[in-house]
C-alpha cells in the first residue's frame, strides 16, 4: 500500500537521533573554527544515550524498511552536524562499494574497517571514466600509480577503495576498484583541503607511487575486461545507486536544520505560516517559507523513494539520480533562501545558519554534480547512450 507516514517506532528512533543531533550541534561551531582538528570518535555525552542503531535492528511489519530508515537517520544526524557524531560509526563511502561489489571474503575481511572512496583525479571532475591512475599486474601483485583528490574522510579512513584502470585502451571497461590499506608502501596521504564548508570533515589527496597490493585486493575479484561498453564500469557505477540517495539525505538534513532554525527564529518574532491561507492571505516571507518547505519535503521523498525501491530490490538507477539532482539543488537554494529570510542575522557567526549554508553547498558537487545527474536522467528517459547524449 502507498503510505508516506511513519510508524510510532519509526518516530521513536528518529526522536532519539534528534536528541543526539542536538548534542552534536553544540560542537559544530568549534570544529568549523578549528578545521585542522578532528571531532572525537565518541562524544563525552555518549554514555547518557542509547545507540539509535540498536533500535533499528528490530523492524516490525508496520515499520519503514531499513533502507528508508537509514536515509531518515542520516538526514537526522546531519540535522545536528555534518561531521560531529555521538559515536562515529565505522564505514565510509568505500564500505558502500565493498557491500555492493565485494566478494564474501572481502566483505568479511574489510567490512569492519572504515574505507574511503578515491575516484576523482586532478584532471577529471565528475568524468569518472577518465581515470588516469593505473593498476598493473606484476606477478601476484597489482602495482598502482596515480593521484586522487577530494577523498572524503581520506585522512582518517583505515583504507580506501580506489578506482584505477588496468587497460586504458579499454576505456570505462578497463576501470576496476582496488582496496588499499593505510601504511601500504607507496600510498601517501598528501594534504587536507581547506574548504568552504564541511571543514571538520577531512577531504584528502592521495598519491600512489609504485604501490604494490596483493592480487586479491581487486574488488569483486573479476580481472576480465568485458567486450562491449561499460561492463565492469557498470558494476562500479552500482555503488552510486546506493551512495547518491545517501549523499542527498546528508544535504537535506542540513537544509532541514536551516529551515527549522529560520522558522523558529521568525515565529519568535511573530512571523508564522497559516497552512489554511491562500496566496492572498500570505506574506512574502510566509510564501517563501512554504516553498522552501515544499522543496525540502519533495527532495527528501525522492530520496526515500530511491531507497525504498532498492529495499524492494527494484532497479533505482533513475530514481537515485533524481534524488541526487533534486537534493543537490534544494540543498543549495534552501539554505540560500533561509539566510535571505533571516536578513543580517542570517549571516552572523553567532548562529549556525551561515555554516549550514556553507556545508550544504557540497551536496550538488560531489558524487556527481547536478549536471551529471541530469545527464544520467535524460539518457535513461530518452533511452540514449552516452554517445547519443553527451
Amino acid at each position: 500500500m502507498i503510505d508516506l507516514t511513519l510508524s510510532e517506532k519509526d518516530e521513536q528512533i528518529l526522536a532519539t537521533v534528534r536528541e543526539e543531533a542536538l548534542v552534536c550541534r553544540k560542537y559544530a561551531r568549534y570544529y568549523d573554527d578549528h578545521e585542522e582538528e578532528f571531532a572525537p570518535d565518541t562524544l563525552p555525552e555518549a554514555k547518557d544515550f542509547k545507540n539509535p542503531f540498536a533500535l533499528l535492528m528490530k523492524r516490525d511489519e508496520l515499520d519503514s524498511s531499513m533502507g528508508v530508515m537509514s536515509m531518515l537517520v542520516t538526514a537526522g544526524q546531519t540535522w545536528g552536524d555534518y561531521t560531529v557524531r555521538m559515536r562515529r560509526g565505522t564505514g565510509g563511502l568505500g564500505n558502500a562499494a565493498l557491500r555492493a561489489s565485494g566478494t564474501p571474503e572481502q566483505q568479511s575481511r574489510w567490512g569492519g574497517k572504515t574505507l574511503a572512496m578515491a575516484i576523482t583525479e586532478p584532471g577529471c571532475g565528475s568524468d569518472s571514466k577518465a581515470v588516469q591512475t593505473t593498476a598493473v599486474l606484476s606477478g601476484d601483485e597489482w602495482v598502482l600509480n596515480g593521484e586522487k583528490i577530494f577523498v572524503t574522510t581520506g585522512c582518517r579512513a583505515e583504507g580506501v577503495v580506489v578506482w584505477a584502470t588496468i587497460d586504458k585502451s579499454a576505456g570505462r571497461a578497463g576501470i576496476k576498484s582496488f582496496i588499499v590499506m593505510k601504511g601500504t608502501p607507496g600510498f601517501e596521504v598528501t594534504h587536507k583541503e581547506k574548504k568552504l564548508g564541511i571543514r571538520a570533515d577531512d577531504t584528502a589527496a592521495y598519491v600512489f607511487r609504485d604501490c604494490r597490493i596483493p592480487r586479491d585486493h581487486l574488488l569483486g575479484g573479476d580481472e576480465s575486461i568485458p567486450k562491449e561498453g561499460a561492463g565492469g564500469f557498470k558494476g562500479v557505477m552500482k555503488t552510486f545507486n546506493m551512495t547518491r540517495p545517501a549523499v542527498a539525505a546528508i544535504g537535506l538534513g542540513i537544509a532541514q536544520a536551516a529551515l527549522d532554525f529560520t522558522r523558529d527564529a521568525l515565529a519568535a518574532e511573530g512571523v508564522e505560516v497559516d497552512w489554511n491561507a491562500g496566496v492572498h492571505g500570505r506574506s512574502a516571507v510566509q510564501q517563501k517559507l512554504i516553498e522552501i518547505e515544499a522543496d525540502i519535503e519533495a527532495a527528501m521523498l525522492c530520496v526515500l523513494h530511491a531507497s525504498w525501491l532498492s529495499g524492494e530490490s527494484k532497479s533505482n538507477n533513475l530514481e537515485a539520480s533524481i534524488s541526487k539532482a533534486k537534493g543537490g539543488e534544494i540543498a543549495r537554494t534552501a539554505t540560500q533562501r533561509c539566510i535571505e529570510l533571516c536578513g543580517s542575522l542570517g549571516i552572523s557567526l553567532d548562529h549556525l545558519l551561515e555554516k549550514w549554508f556553507r556545508d550544504c553547498r557540497i551536496t550538488d558537487i560531489y558524487e556527481g554534480t547536478g549536471q551529471i545527474q541530469r545527464l544520467i536522467i535524460a539518457r535513461d528517459i530518452l533511452g540514449y547512450s552516452a554517445a547519443e547524449l553527451s
Partner: protein, 369 residues
Amino acid sequence: MISFGPTEEQELVRDTVREFAKNEMREIARPCDEKRELPSDFLQKSWELGLVAGAIPESFGGGGIGRSPVTNALVLEELGCGDVPLAAAALAPGLFVAPLLDFGTDEQKKSLLPLFVGSSFHAATLALLEPTFSFEVSSLRTVAEPKGSGFSLSGKKRLVPLASTASHLLVVARGARDGVAGLEAFIVPRDAKGLAIAPEAERTLGFQCLPRFSVELDRVEVPASARLGGDRGIDGARLLAMLRTASAALGLGLARGVYELALPYARERVAFGQPIAQKQAIAFMLAEMQVELNSLRHLVWKAASLLEHGVDASRAATLAHVYATREVMKIADNGLQIFGGHGYIREYPVEMWYRNARALTVNESVAAL
C-alpha cells in the same frame, strides 16, 4: 510506514482509469475544446466507471469500496493525464458527494446519497469561488446568517461546474467564526428561491468544454437541516486540504500528459542535423520534468496518505498545492517550448494543455475532490 507501492486493487483501478483516459478522453479532448462542448455520452460513460458511486457505502446502495484519498490521487492523476476539463466534468458530482460522505449527518446521507447510486449520471456540484481578484478562501464574502430556525444565504459564486443541470449545489459560505475554521457548507436545491444561475456558461481560458456558471444567492432561505454536518458543521480545514490535494493530483496528471507528448516529439524532431532531444538544453528540460513529476507525485501521495489516516493534512496539502501551482505551469510551458512553432498552432495538442494548465492552477481552483 513509508511505502511507495500501490496495492493490487489500486493498480487495477489505476489501469482501468488509464485505459479510459486513453480511449475515451484523449481522442475527444481537442474537438470538445474547439467546440466548447461536452459530449452528452461522455458523462454517462465516465459514470459507469463508478468513481462517484463506488465510494458510497452499500447501506446507501453504493459500491461500498469506501473513500480512499490515496486511490483517489491515483485516479485523478490518470484522469488529468487524459484531459483535465473532461475529468472535472466527470467528477463534478463528487464535489458534492465527497463532503457529504465526510461531513454529512445520517439524515443528510440517507436523503441524498441514493441520488448517486443509480445507473445514469446524476449532476450535483460545489460552489466555492467568488468574483474577486484577491479571492481568499479564508475570508469568503458569501455569508450565511441565521434566519428563523434556518439560514439565509447571500453572495456571488462563479465557475460552478454543471450548475445548470445539478440537482443540488453545495454552497460554501462564511459562518459565525472567522477564517477557514468558520467555513460552512449548505445543501441548496438548484430551484431554491433567490438562487440565480447565469443563463450562459462562463467562458474561460482552457476548460472550454466544461460548463461552469456564475451563481448569485440573494437571501436564499434554507432550513437548519441544509447545513452540512448539522450542528457540528464541517471541518473547513479538511475540506480545503482535500480540494488542494485533488487539484494537485489533477495537475500532476496534466503535467505528465505534457511530458508524454514532449518526450517522443523531441526524439523525432530533427533540427541542425540531429534530434533536438540530443541537445542538452532540450534533454535537460525533459530530465527536469521527470524530476518534478516524481517530486510532485510524492507530495500528493504524502497529503493523500495523511488524509487517509484521518489526521491533519493542511500542511501537506498546501505544500502539494503550492508545488503544483509552480511546477505544472512550468512543465506545460517548457513542453510547449519543445514543440517550438508547432506548440503554438492548434493542429498540435500541446497549446490546449498549456491553457488548461494555467486554468487549473489558479488559486484554489475547484476541479475535483
